[in-house]
Symmetry: C2
Subunit: 457 residues, 2 copies
Amino acid sequence: MKDMKIPYKTYLTESEMPKYWFNLNAFMPGKHPPFLNGVTGKPCTAEELEKVFCKECVKQELNFTDKEIEIPKGIRDFYRTFRPSPIVRAYFLEKFLDTPAEIYYKFEGNNTSGSHKLNSASAQAYYAKEQGLKFITTETGAGQWGTALSMAAAFYGLGLEVFMVKASAEQKPYRKEVIRTYGANVVPSPSETTEAGRKILKEFPDTGGSLGCAIAEAVEKAVKIPGCRYVLGSVLDHVLLHQTVIGLESKAVLDGYGVYPDLIVGCMGGGSNFGGLIAPYMADRLQGKCKTEFLGVEPASCPSVSRGKYAYDYCDSAKITPLAKMYTLGCGFMPPSEHAGGLRYHGMSPIISKLCNDGYIGVKAVKQTSVFKAALDFAKCEGILPAPESAHAIKAVADAAIECRETGEKKVILFGLTGTGYFDLAAYKQYNDGVMKDYVPTDKELEKGFSTIPRIR
Amino acid sequence: MKDMKIPYKTYLTESEMPKYWFNLNAFMPGKHPPFLNGVTGKPCTAEELEKVFCKECVKQELNFTDKEIEIPKGIRDFYRTFRPSPIVRAYFLEKFLDTPAEIYYKFEGNNTSGSHKLNSASAQAYYAKEQGLKFITTETGAGQWGTALSMAAAFYGLGLEVFMVKASAEQKPYRKEVIRTYGANVVPSPSETTEAGRKILKEFPDTGGSLGCAIAEAVEKAVKIPGCRYVLGSVLDHVLLHQTVIGLESKAVLDGYGVYPDLIVGCMGGGSNFGGLIAPYMADRLQGKCKTEFLGVEPASCPSVSRGKYAYDYCDSAKITPLAKMYTLGCGFMPPSEHAGGLRYHGMSPIISKLCNDGYIGVKAVKQTSVFKAALDFAKCEGILPAPESAHAIKAVADAAIECRETGEKKVILFGLTGTGYFDLAAYKQYNDGVMKDYVPTDKELEKGFSTIPRIR
């Protein structure tokens, strides 16, 4: 084993923790195209967005100028309960892979939600409370976001209704129970409680649901109840902003050891964790200060960027949300329920999409069984059972590290270990039993998805 | 909220982590009575114990003189993957309880096993590997120990068979799956694979099993297979020794802030986590250096100390292990399967038992529904969903803190938050659904248990 000159695990002290989020939008080579109102086709105004989202979040969403945005003390107080998260030098994984590469990971799973999602959940719940709201709604797929928001809502004393993708609610009764334990109401989606849900159920009575559909239900409810707003766990710029605490903490620790990554890898569902991890490094790259490569990893079963189109599309399947310019498989695309874990979203963060389109981020799609194999290897040598989502990054990192073994390159790799797989044991069981299958959509299936992308301009 | 002068969460740095365990036995007011051979009634020799346990563990078990025992580098390497664990100042719980008390907890749940168990699992797996063994066996109740040992066995490259209490294996299929994911074989106990198991099944065909029975099966198998030994997760002195890393880290952090606890609280199943937490403080007390009070908390459904007898008894229900002088409800005592979580053991660590008997440790038995209520309050304000076991301590701490509210006393309370409840959602569901019941054995039920204590001298 290497000499462990750098500690295996490093935490910032409380006083070193970030007091500002990093606004990547202020560094972008040109703004990404704005949201469009789905009815008028015109750019969304703050007023329109504020009907759905909290005021402060809308302000952040439309902020393309301030490089830093202060994290309010009320949020930093709650951050203390689960942050800082550690930067780990993966000595044991390096040894297992027999690679000259240095591998670091930022582990965001050490909290009850089991993922990075709590970073934005806290912020959004805090702002809702500050705005005087009593109630918020959201959707959840794999359940991490719903759990995170239930924790934040409990902490700040807010009511919460979570529309949980039905397949997930059924496959993960315990995820549902955690959310309930924190006091939130869980509604399997599609449900009969909204127009959007009823419409989908009529067309597809046996559907396991989708994130897009759950979003539509949660938005519909938020708009209809006075004093209620909708809260989203990924995709949007303000969510990515809150997630930059990941990248800021990572950079603060690594800078302290004089370590600068050559390659940063992360899984991409909606893109916010990856965006948050890379933000300060990407700003360096955009300013010509480094040559770091960025690699986003997505499931082959839901290849939003690698096989998607860069186009204006709805954020939800019911087509009630604004349109975002993003990589998309079409808002009607839905991978089979047993695939892609929490990375089932048809679209991608507008910021990440633009950076992919501009050539700053590379993308790799990986198959599910190879992801679980990498997850098991990782668990056995690093001790942590990773979330299947995070294991997409592990798979790509392992591939890169093995390439280094062959070339002898001592590449410095940083990746985001976004969460733990403690509530994903049904999927691990499938893999352990040897019955897990890989799914890769055919071109024809993709065409069907693309046909749901609206024709704009 | 108080001013947070002390950080919410403090970790030691890697270089500050303990390099020695603390041998409480070297500080005890007289040795506790030795193990007796169940057949001859004479004190067990090292040779006898080495047939069952690893050599180094036996050496530690019989070491009453060395105040410190070095933690080998091979164990400290693995400790790095999940240690140090944080000391948390429970500001939010203090606020919720409106108490002048200062509450600190040492959180041992931030690892995939979800508990402190990994501290001893690593040590025992390491020693087994060093001794040249290929295979180890163990039992698990709630599943935390089995998970911990599967992680350690995977890390060191050892084969492992886990006899899992049948009721638990059925109630917690995902616990079973984690253990399997790390490569171990899980056998629901009682099983047909051992004489002990077959005997119990014949007498009680519908039994959900017990820790005592699972221990008997695991020991039987270890003794029969060449190159195999048995590994135990609690009760024994060497297990408590390995757990002293909890108390040492706690004391190192708190000493740094000039904080010395007036009261230390922990849950007790077999007693090793509580013993490990209190060890350095208890040594101070035994040497007259402090007046700290110690409170062990056990389930009212399995009140080993508060209603048990201090007597020689078997460590297992099949009566194949040596006899230990301990508080016991009788090796035949078995609480109903839905009660007491991982605190179902009929006996108690000989060290803890002696300290209880000598008046150094107070004991409180608490009812299950009050424990879950305390768990929910804690989860909502501190963010962590606690293990039901750990929540026994939370309940007692809340009671003590509320007492301080009434007396105005600024007591400094430290407690062990031994683990997380991520695999205990079935129990939380019972509580959330309002169908959880309290069970307190009648005197008649206890008498039946006591009748299984052997008559020795």
